[in-house]
């Protein structure tokens, strides 16, 4: 690669780093108390996607509609178990932004490993950063290697 190309690669890497790490201005709503009643039945949660703001105090009332189900929240490491017909409570502060899967942590049947829901704390910034990174990668390679077909190149 020529010096110019190396310079371009370094520029792209730095831009990528900015995309990944730069703090973004997010309109912060004042923290509030949020309560969700989540019904767990083989093999889904309803509602399956919960959206809260960063800093909210979140209470999940987990109600099992058939067998024993659990709810383990990735990233937060908190969990709760609900017996059939009973309501179990899980309260935590949503102090980490992003998208987090929650999943059943009590073996509940065939599709147990795939009983999954999603907690969205604030906007899904990581997804937008990842998309920006993807577009940057696509553009960078087109600029770095214009790759004109042989006929046009000659």
């Amino acid at each position: 690669m020529s010096k110019k190309q190396w310079f371009f690669v370094i520029l792209v890497v730095l831009t990528g780093a900015v995309i990944v790490f730069a703090p973004l201005p997010v309109r912060a709503a004042p923290p509030t108390q949020r309560t969700f009643r989540v019904e767990a039945g083989q093999f889904a949660y309803a509602p399956a996607v919960l959206e809260v703001n960063p800093g909210d105090t979140v209470t999940i009332e987990l109600v099992s509609t058939d067998v024993v189900h659990g709810l383990y929240l990735d990233g937060y490491g908190v969990s709760v178990t609900a017996d059939p017909g009973q309501t179990a409570h899980l309260t935590f502060t949503a102090d980490r932004s992003g998208s987090f899967r929650f999943r059943c942590n009590v073996t509940c049947g065939a599709l147990h490993p795939f009983m999954i829901g999603k907690l969205q704390v604030g906007p899904n910034l990581w997804l937008w950063r990842a998309i920006a990174l993807t577009v940057l990668a696509g553009l960078a390679i087109l600029i770095l290697h214009p790759s004109l077909p042989k006929a046009q190149a000659s």
């Binding site: 990233g75 065939a110 829901g117 696509g138």
Partner: protein, 446 residues
């Protein structure tokens, strides 16, 4: 950029000698049979059953995250499925080949000498995967069916026809093996041309003719070489080498085959569907995929097939067509389509890596508990039965998946550019297609 691994005497001895491979085979065969037994006789709870946990979590993790990306068909070199059939076919396990062919020894029909059947078998497995992956008995039936089909085919046909033309796993391993930084090749093609008896293909007292029906002298890509090492043993001129090489070396020459092109779409599409069904929050979709025979299942099946065999190829064809129009090339659309489909190999591989990272890291905790209690009968062989489930490295998961997908896109874009140069077409629309597919996958995973 190539380095000959067989140049190291220890490596060469280990690969040429039959004993190390045989020992690994025995371990693999024992594990495989044990997985079948646990599926039939163990607990019906999938995540507590050795068959499910070791095949679909442990083996799958090793296969897709390590074996295929770095060793290509390395798994095929130690796969236990063809062994009983092959031993029956040869009438021996270790002995040199006899003169007379055993059993029927038929040639595989010319019309079927492609990977369409492998495309079909993989599609079937993928379609029923949510049932297979969660039901120990169904996993046992599938594994046993593969074993007995391989035995049956070894009796009727010559060589390893099951591996080459039927195995649902072998098809995609072959596709992605093109990207691996390892290869088996001849050192000097002239030596092969001058060689009269071609013992690498026909066999000799030193070993068997290529079980994969490949003449090593003509090898230009990894797709159909099973790394069984027979040619290393039979070549009288020491002309076979195992080399390390740059990643995706085989992809520089685009494919011209439609069956291989469709394999790329099947793999790409299946990874996206799996990400939605297995890892998404949509319970209805999971139940539709699981409820075999129901109206919802038929709807899921129709959507699955239309997406993989209709929508994805149609969008890709549109992209190729735009590239063709941009460059006013004279090459046929079919040739452009197959050539550019080669570029989807790295993207598909990295889609599977990203999907598997999530699947494996959240379910790996079951490995130790099922090792202690493989049948779910209440055993505690290693004191790990009661180990609580917990997902691993969840904070690293999203960055790792993003990295995998972005690397996949860069790799595919570069491959598309090279393919574009080969066929004199603009790769830009294909790169745009790949970028859109990557963004869709990010949406499903993140």
């Amino acid at each position: 950029m190539r380095s000959e691994l067989t140049g190291f005497p220890l490596v060469k001895t280990l690969l040429k000698n039959r004993w190390p491979q045989l020992l690994v085979w025995f371990v693999m065969l024992a594990g495989f049979l044990f997985a079948i037994l646990s599926g039939f006789f163990g607990t019906p709870v999938g995540n507590r059953n050795f068959g499910i946990v070791f095949v679909w979590i442990a083996w799958w993790a090793v296969l897709i995250l390590v074996a295929v990306p770095f060793f290509g068909r390395g798994w095929c070199a130690i796969c236990p499925i063809p062994l009983p059939g092959e031993w029956l076919q040869r009438g021996a396990i270790m002995d040199p080949p006899g003169k007379k062919p055993r059993w029927f020894n038929l040639r595989w029909p010319n019309r079927l000498r492609n990977i369409w059947l492998q495309n079909l078998t993989f599609t079937l497995v993928a379609l029923f995967s949510i049932i297979i992956l969660t039901t120990p008995k169904v996993t046992a039936i599938v594994l046993a069916a593969m074993l007995f089909l391989a035995i049956g085919m070894s009796i009727v046909f010559e060589r390893r026809t099951f591996c080459r033309y039927i195995c649902p796993v072998g098809g995609f391993i072959g596709l992605y093996a093109q990207a691996a930084p390892m290869e088996l090749r001849v050192k000097d093609k002239q030596v092969c041309l001058a060689c009269k008896d071609k013992p690498c293909y026909n066999g000799s007292e030193a070993g068997y003719g290529c079980p994969w029906d490949v003449f090593p002298g003509g090898l230009t890509k990894n797709t159909y070489c099973g790394l069984c090492m027979e040619c290393l043993r039979t070549c009288p001129y020491d002309n076979i080498a195992i080399n390390t090489r740059p990643f995706s070396a085989d992809l520089a020459k685009p494919s011209t085959r439609m069956d291989e092109a469709f394999k790329a779409f099947i793999m790409l599409g299946a990874a996206m569907i799996y990400a939605g069904v297995f890892l998404g929050p949509w319970g209805g979709l999971k139940l539709a995929a699981y409820s075999f025979g129901s109206l919802a299942w038929f709807g899921y099946t129709a959507a699955f097939l239309v997406f993989i065999f209709g929508l994805l190829p149609a969008l890709f064809l549109g992209a190729v067509g735009i590239g063709k129009a941009l460059t006013k090339a004279t090459i046929t659309l079919k040739k452009s389509f197959t050539a550019f489909a080669t570029a989807l190999v790295p993207l598909g591989l990295m889609f599977w890596v990203a999907f598997s990272l999530s699947f494996v890291l959240t379910n790996a905790a079951y490995i130790l508990s099922s090792l202690s209690d493989p049948f779910g009968w209440g055993w505690n062989l290693f004191g790990t039965t009661a180990m609580p489930w917990q997902p691993y490295l969840t904070t690293l998961l999203l960055p790792l998946q993003t990295l995998a997908l972005v690397v996949g896109l860069l790799w595919t874009a570069r491959t598309a550019q090279k393919a574009g140069t080969e066929v004199n077409l603009s790769p830009i629309p294909v790169i745009v297609f790949s970028t859109a597919a990557t963004i869709a996958m990010l949406g499903l995973l993140l």
